[in-house]
Amino acid sequence: MRKERFSLVITLAVVLNCLFIGTSFAGFGFGGDDLGKSGLDFNKGYDVNTVTTVSGRVASSPRTGENGHVFVDVRTAGETISLNLGPKRFWEKQEIPLRPNDVIAAKGSKAQGQDGKTYLLVQKLANRTTGANAVVRNERGGAGWSGGNMGGMMSNGPGGGMMRGGGGGMMRR
């Protein structure tokens, strides 16, 4: 009886420990949502306010990362930016090779993740070394892999007034 009670206390302590640690860490990168370590929404996320163009050299070969998306690191003049190129299956269909040291230019929505890295949710990308071009999202951020977004959303033109709840942001997409 005493042995059972002792085991129960130990189990309870371990569970509480895990809960406390889980709660404490939830705020910085290991949260319970499905956004991944960066906290960014690579599937549907885009913000026209943060759209910018970056250019630089490819630092490493494209790799599959968060939520099965493809990322490639690009060294610009001031920093290294992770370019989000969409889901792996989508990017593979584009058939645009990116090799280290290729000079590329990319336009997209810039964001800083909860992991401290800078990301660019690429709208379009040009490999100046090979001359290849790719369109990943439309002008308002509609994802090329989510069907129907490319034509439909582009017709609205930039600057549309989609808002996100909870006091978030200015104009989106």
Binding site: F6, L35, G39, V48, N49, K110, A111, M170
Partner: protein, 416 residues
Amino acid sequence: MLKRFFLLSGMGISLILVWFAVSNYRASRAIAEENLLGLAHSLAAVIEGIAVRDPSLRSLAEFHTTDIAFFALIDGAGRYRFHTNADLVGTSTDVDRFIAVLRNKTATASRVTLGTGEKAYEFCSPLYVPGETLALCLTLHTYRSDAVVRRAEFNTAVIFALLVAGWVLLAILYRFSLREEHHKMEMERRERLAQLGEMGAMLAHEIRNPLAGIKGYAQIIGKKPLDPRNAGFAQSIVKETLRLESLVSDLLAYAGNDSSLMVPIELHDLVDGAVSFIRHEAEAQHVTVMCECSEGVQVSGNRDKLGQVLLNLMKNAVQSMPDGGTLRLHGEKSGKSVTITVSDSGHGIAAEDMNRIFEPFFTTKARGTGLGLALCKKIVEEHKGKIHIESTPGKGTTVTLVLPGVKGQGKGGSQS
């Protein structure tokens, strides 16, 4: 008392640490907000300076810092006069709070979530340029400023983890100390038993042999008394010597360390044997004996010793029913064990005596030795079993014995 003091001290220290961790975490958020606000004010001042020097606002396009996610200047008509995304310059905004900044001439600051999912800090304030007032909307990355929050979160997690680890270690230490205390008591008990064993051996030598002589002489006197009155006295002497012999035997049995061979015993035979010894005494006291035992159930143990346990328990039960009653015996297999219950409808055991009933030499009977139940407990524990007593004064007592069964034996079915 000392344990309670340490426990309360530990809880107090834990609470202080929790309070410290929580307050530290809450303070860190305020510090991060202050940092962001200070940064926003500084950047707003720089932007205002550039805008004043260059009313065309083109120079603002050259202004970059790593902390800015984007910034924009909006005029009274709600149009973007400047935006870090040049494509938006000249378009209209439908965000009311930017217009409200111009209307109220007050600055606002809040955390916002951008379309990318990024958690950012938005600062809006009126910006005075020659000839007009614009609304400045400045959105900042929070990663650098939130470093203090992350640090506080980590510290809080470490404190909580250490606290939990500390309490778990304490629980383990407490558990070990309890076990040690238990071992110490067990050693003392064994020591007492060893002393009792020595005393029993001495009694056997010094008392049992003379007692046999006294009994023999008394029996001779009883058969051929010189005076007829002596026959009764001789019978009394024999009776008392028999009682003393029984006491010495019990004492030797209790003090002895007999590790006899365990053999499978038919539960039914064991109970029947014990009942046959007590039946005569029970009938004399108008006690009805009812026996329910599953057929084919075997218990592992020493037949004589287990028979002695049942006999002692039944004797106690019969003696607790001087005006008659019912004595029930029930035996069955329960899992790997065999459970035997001995219940009576006697006067029961007083609540204050319950804690002492297994102590040697504790008795509530005028002529009892106080070794019966102590011996039962010892024998049952030697068999790796358990004995448990429940009693309600005035209603009766139930003694439950749990003894190891025989391996590979199915559950007993029929009853008799």
